[in-house]
């Protein structure tokens, strides 16, 4: 599975794509099957919104012990907040969806991120 993420222009907040809207919670993100053309299509649409977000890219997801989570450690930190300040960032909200992300382990790079780095 995949999700589309970016940073919001006005404040840098990590956001996720949900049916044409940008939402702050990973748990609310729209999910795309790996071979679903809607994922790359959403990236293309996101690129037409440069006054809303910056650097949109797809992240890879995997089934963790408590639910779907980003494969990459980096993306889990983006979806949660810094591990040294547990009351800062999205993790401050708590709840089952946050706990599911925190329970996820393992790591690999997101293909979308690698593509982004390659483009630079």
């Amino acid at each position: 599975m995949k999700a589309l993420t970016a940073n919001r222009l006005i404040d840098g907040e990590v956001v996720f794509w949900q049916a044409g809207q940008w939402v702050e919670r990973f748990a609310d993100a729209q999910l795309f099957a790996d071979d679903d053309a809607a994922g790359p299509a959403a990236v293309d649409t996101a690129k037409t919104q440069p006054t809303v977000i910056v650097e949109p890219y797809l992240i890879d997801l995997t089934q963790g012990p408590a639910g779907l989570a980003p494969v990459s450690y980096r993306e889990r930190i983006r979806a949660l907040g810094p591990t040294n300040e547990p009351t800062h960032g999205k993790q401050a909200e708590g709840g089952a969806a946050i706990a599911a992300l925190q329970a996820a382990t393992g790591a690999a790079r997101s293909t979308g991120r690698v593509d982004l780095i390659r483009r630079k």
Binding site: N7, I10, T51, Y73, P82, T83, E85, H88, R109
Partner: protein, 551 residues
């Protein structure tokens, strides 16, 4: 302390207003992100993992209480109540909104501060000795020369688009608290045989993926010729630096490829062409120097009964004195270091309340002078011995009395993957795990000086190449691993650390450090520091201790 004149002040206000217009244009879609990014970076604004990060310059690590309170105000008003002091003596705010940044720059301009040249391929904030003007070790006040360089390098049109970023350090003491040889240019103020002031000029140091210590290309440069000589260095660099490859674009690569001797020869050739016309007039130097000599020290006896009584009565104060209080050049005064490395804390972080408290202490007891060290701590450089007990108690009340300067828990760590878009691995939790392991203050003091420096990626903001123990976070197929290296130093005995062995998983790093320390304690002779024992005994016993289980 140097104060801006009206031209400087108006320029800063104009610059903040200019950025406000650029932000409006970006939000309206009048300029693209590609057009806007270099503009925001010129104002120190990066986009990191969770938010924008604003890096504010603290010129040569020196500031006054009003400026420090401005940091507290920014932390409280536009961030999450704290700031992060960096290995370049600057401060970074981690949770900044783009839309708030023009207001923040206005606020900074109001206290003669800014974020200009804290990013980009230009001459960055000059590093200097946090004990400047307070230590008897110095032959001259390095802030005078740092301020000369600040004025010369700020918005210098010829050096605003160098092949890569450029960092200069100025020290004036045999004891190097600036990591001078790890800079693009290190300047050591010294006196020649006839007593005249000059500089030893070191060029081509740096860390990152290809670390070098700067070789000396000129053992004695007459002080009056500083600017023309630096211009000659930068012209040679501008001409030959590798703009084609950012990994090879720093001056260290050029100096290493040409050789220090040939590089020095080309600089001399260029210097002859420039002549003396580019140098600073004596009157201007005298004007700048005049800003730094008005410290109103009182005449005081070299010993203080109040200090001695507290020292005898309070063990925590005695420990603080042993580790954090340093000799001052003026009888009856002391230099007080404030550790930002409390157990469990994030290295280099200070809350708004702590910043306000330090500003109050500087105003009340410290001649309104505050310094930031490249080891991510703070310094009150001028405290009367009579007042040190009161300063200690006040620091205790805000959690800033940790007595561990230069000990194993005084760890440098970059923000790492918890915040930084470039990082491969986290640095802060590794520092915290090591701090926890060595939380016993008696044990830490028994171990003695041991500098651990942790970077979350190869860019080496955490100075791992010059740590007695360096820790580098690496990405092994997406997992956080840590490569340990030993034997580095950023001090006057500068050296680059050597890799210990294969990288370790995160949960094994504190164990490995423990084994390194036990090995050192077993081998230690007399008063040897960890670094001394390593240099005498070599890598083998340390490697064996950490990797024995793997065989």
């Amino acid at each position: 302390m140097y104060s801006y004149d009206i031209i400087d002040q108006e320029f800063l206000e104009d610059r903040a207003a200019e950025f406000r217009g650029q932000v409006v244009a970006r939000l309206a879609g009048d300029i693209t992100e590609d057009q806007f990014k270099p503009l925001r970076l010129m104002n120190g604004l990066y986009l990191q993992l969770h938010a924008y990060m604003l890096r504010v310059a603290v010129p040569y690590g020196s500031l006054n209480p009003t400026q420090f309170r401005a940091f507290a105000h920014i932390a409280r008003t536009w961030d999450k109540g704290y700031g992060h002091f960096t290995t370049r003596q600057n401060i970074q705010f981690n949770w900044i909104k783009l839309g708030d940044t023009p207001d923040i720059l206005d606020h900074l301009a109001g206290v003669q501060m800014h974020a200009i040249q804290t990013s980009g391929n230009c001459i960055r904030n000059v590093t200097s000795d946090p004990y400047a003007g307070a230590t008897a070790q110095e032959v001259d006040d390095p802030r005078v020369w740092s301020e000369v360089l600040r004025q010369w390098s700020t918005l210098h049109p010829e050096f605003s688009y160098l092949p890569r970023k450029f960092k200069i350090a100025v020290t004036a003491s045999e004891i190097d608290r600036t990591a001078a040889r790890a800079h693009d240019i290190g300047l050591k103020v010294l006196r020649g045989a006839d007593g005249a002031l000059g500089f030893e000029v070191m060029v081509g140091g740096g860390q990152g993926r290809t670390p070098y210590l700067a070789p000396t290309i000129k053992p004695f440069l007459p002080a009056a010729r500083l600017i023309s000589y630096l211009e000659a260095i930068l012209r040679v660099y501008n001409r030959h630096g590798r703009r084609d490859n950012s990994y090879k674009a720093r001056i260290k690569i050029l100096v290493a490829s040409l050789g220090a001797e040939e590089f020095g020869r080309q600089v001399e050739e260029e210097w002859l062409k420039i002549g003396e016309g580019r140098d600073l007039p004596d009157t201007e130097l005298a004007r700048i120097r005049g800003s730094f000599i008005r410290v109103p020290f009182e005449t005081a006896p070299p010993h203080s009964d109040i200090f001695d009584a507290e020292h005898a009565a309070d063990r925590s104060f005695a420990r603080f004195v042993r580790n954090n209080v340093k000799a001052h050049k003026q009888p009856g005064y002391a230099i007080v270091e404030i550790s930002l490395k409390a157990p469990g804390a994030t290295p280099g972080d200070a809350s708004a309340e702590q910043m306000d408290a330090v500003a109050d202490l500087a105003e009340r007891y410290g001649l309104s002078d505050i310094r930031v060290t490249h080891e991510q701590n703070l310094v009150l450089p001028h405290v009367k011995l009579d007042d040190v007990p009161a300063v200690h108690r006040a620091l205790q009340s805000v959690g800033l009395a940790t007595s561990n300067i230069s000990l194993i828990s005084d760890i440098i760590a970059c923000p790492g993957l918890d915040y930084c878009a470039l990082a491969n691995a986290r640095a802060i939790p590794v520092a915290q795990a090591i701090q926890d392991r060595f939380a016993d203050a008696d044990r830490a003091e028994d171990i003695g000086e041991l500098k651990i420096k942790i970077s979350g990626c190869i860019n080496a903001c955490g100075h791992h190449h010059i740590g007695h123990i360096g820790v580098l976070g690496v990405d092994k197929k997406g997992e956080e691993f840590y490569q340990l290296s030993l034997g580095g130093s950023g001090a006057e005995d500068a050296s680059l650390a050597s890799i210990l062995g294969p990288a370790l998983p995160a949960d094994k790093v504190a164990d490995a450090v423990d084994k390194l320390v036990e090995t050192y304690l077993g081998l230690r002779q007399a008063d040897e520091r960890f670094l001394d024992t390593f240099r005498r005994a070599g890598m083998a016993p340390f490697k064996e201790a950490v990797y024995a289980d793997a065989h």
